[in-house]
């Protein structure tokens, strides 16, 4: 039930993104900084949305950007980007997005443990607003239940 690693370098607060693609790239950049993914993983995450629509906006204000395990994933990892100005993904109910998670999973047979950890955090309906308003990386990690 544990989250993928969420080191401080994978967290960016108050970022500016021109559109949803830029927002997803910021999350991808966090995964690159933490060593979880290569640059190409951002393209993969964007391609999933181009192909299937904005379904990754899985709750009001929250996008879970992700793609399949593949050569661009180096290790399990999580990235969090909070946006200074919310961005529309085109979702009928859950726009605009204030918090973008980037999720990289190395092996698909382990993904359920990772997402169970996410469910533990976000089944608290206040968690998204807490993250969006967080002022420090430590605060984000505390909300996510990551050990300091």
């Amino acid at each position: 039930m544990s989250l993928p690693p969420l080191p401080p370098e994978a967290i960016e607060l108050g970022a500016t993104a021109a559109d949803w693609r830029a927002a997803v790239r910021l999350a991808g950049a966090g995964l690159v900084r933490s060593g979880a993914a290569l640059d190409g993983y951002s393209d993969e995450m964007i391609r999933m949305i181009d192909e299937h629509g904005p379904y990754v906006v899985i709750a009001p204000g929250l996008a879970l950007a992700h793609a399949r395990p593949g050569p661009d994933v180096l290790a399990d990892g999580l990235a969090i980007v909070t946006l200074a100005t919310p961005v529309a993904f085109g979702h009928p109910h859950n726009d605009p997005v204030r918090v973008v998670l980037g999720l990289a999973i190395k092996a698909s047979d382990r993904h359920l443990a990772a997402v169970a950890g996410l469910a533990n955090v976000f089944n608290d309906s206040t968690a998204i607003a807490q993250l969006a308003d967080a002022k420090t990386v430590d605060a984000v990690r505390a909300i996510m239940g990551v050990d300091q």
């Binding site: 192909e51 629509g53 379904y55 990754v56 899985i58 879970l64 997402v115 469910a119």
Partner: protein
């Protein structure tokens, strides 16, 4: 009973649906197997599934099916999942 949770990648969002559906089913004291899969492998996993959990974006791609297709808006809202699963299971 079998339930299939569908998303684009078969990891991530469909996994969250699976995890939360299992939590709700346990609370409702209902016995079901919940499988997470990507939309491309739905024909391989659907079998005798009674319910498909997914987002609005995948309804067209799922197409005609004997299963009830339940569209979830907030994947983390177990109250929404409870209401919609209870309605489908009548």
């Amino acid at each position: 009973m079998k339930i299939v949770a569908i998303c684009g990648a078969g990891i991530g969002s469909s996994g969250i649906l699976k995890v939360n559906a299992e939590r709700v089913l346990k609370r409702l004291d209902l016995d079901a197997v919940v499988v997470a899969a990507d939309i491309a492998s739905l024909p391989d996993v659907i079998g005798t599934a009674q319910i498909i959990l997914t987002s609005a974006e995948f309804v067209d791609a799922i197409g005609k099916t004997f299963a009830d297709v339940i569209v979830i808006e907030n994947y983390f809202d177990t109250a929404e999942l409870t209401t919609k699963l209870e309605a489908a299971l009548g």
